[in-house]
């Protein structure tokens, strides 16, 4: 069961990576594209944190530290991309 879940997460990560790459090559409106890419990066990162690192069931503090790091970094990237220049 654990292996099945891990395999599904792996397939999801691979598919989203391909999707992100294809979208980037096709160059949809740049700001929309960047928002989609960063949201995808957040979702993929959270999947790694929860299912590969196995932090889904540990004390909430440990999971929050790394999840907040991810959201913070991606939010700063998005904010500076949109309003920075």
């Amino acid at each position: 069961m654990q292996d099945v879940k891990a395999t599904l997460v792996w397939l999801l990560l691979m598919s989203m990576t391909f999707m992100m790459f294809i979208l980037a090559q096709n160059g949809v409106g740049q700001k929309t594209l960047v928002i989609i890419m960063l949201l995808t990066a957040w979702f993929k990162g959270q999947l790694i944190i929860d299912h590969f690192m196995g932090l889904r069931r540990v004390a909430v503090l440990w999971r929050m530290i790394i999840s907040i790091w991810l959201v913070f970094i991606l939010s700063v990237i998005l904010s500076v991309y949109i309003w920075g220049s």
């Binding site: 792996w10 790459f21 944190i49 590969f52 690192m53 196995g54 790091w69 991309y81 920075g84």
Partner: protein, 201 residues
């Protein structure tokens, strides 16, 4: 039951409560510190880029995005193999533990080969850290990550040797989870680095 002698087994055996982090707490402190370092790199990159958008866009086109894509897929797959190895150890399937660890090392080596080729290509074109601001960031960030992959591979190889001796099983998985956590961190960082450096324009 692990195949190593009981003395060795007991010396490294830790029983975590369900609330505890998988693996060693000290390594998790190291992982959090590493994430802060990479985070500082990422923020500095995007802020510097905002003041040099044309230059960054121009030189980003010289990167091989397909190599970046390949390396992303390879790292995700390697992380997945490590998960399979840990799961096998939890079920006392020692041969599968070794097999999946070996597969994860191979995938890690593919990452190193692809990234080394990228570095070599840039070096052949005369690119170095002082070529321009974009390359300063590109080379330093990706090389910093590359060194983490190298360290991760050393850890994976050490775990592989121990697994071959029957050192991991359902009652002694602490060391395996510790190394696995570090390897997943290397993967997590690349999932932010790849779109940031190769794709965002």
């Amino acid at each position: 039951m692990c195949l190593e002698t009981p003395d060795v087994r007991n010396a490294s055996n830790k029983h975590n409560s369900p609330d505890d982090l998988p693996g060693d707490l000290a390594v998790w402190m190291f992982i959090y510190a590493e994430l802060l370092a990479f985070g500082a790199f990422f923020i500095t990159y995007i802020v510097t880029r905002s003041n040099n958008v044309e230059l960054f866009n121009q030189y980003q086109l010289t990167l091989d995005a397909k190599s970046g894509l390949l390396n992303t897929l390879v790292l995700i797959t390697s992380s997945f193999f490590v998960v399979k190895s840990v799961n096998a150890a939890k079920r006392d399937q020692l041969n599968k533990t070794v097999f999946w660890l070996f597969a994860s090392v191979l995938a890690g080596l593919v990452f190193i080969a692809v990234k080394s080729y990228e570095f070599y290509s840039k070096y052949s074109e005369g690119v170095n850290l002082s070529t321009n601001t974009f390359y300063t960031f590109y080379l330093s960030m990706t090389f910093f990550h590359y060194m983490h992959v190298m360290l991760g591979l050393v850890i994976l190889c050490a775990m592989l040797l121990k697994a071959k001796r029957g050192g991991y099983c359902s009652t002694d998985i602490h060391g395996l989870e510790t190394g696995a956590s570090y390897w997943h961190m290397v993967d997590l960082v690349w999932l932010v680095l790849f779109p940031l450096v190769y794709l965002i324009r």
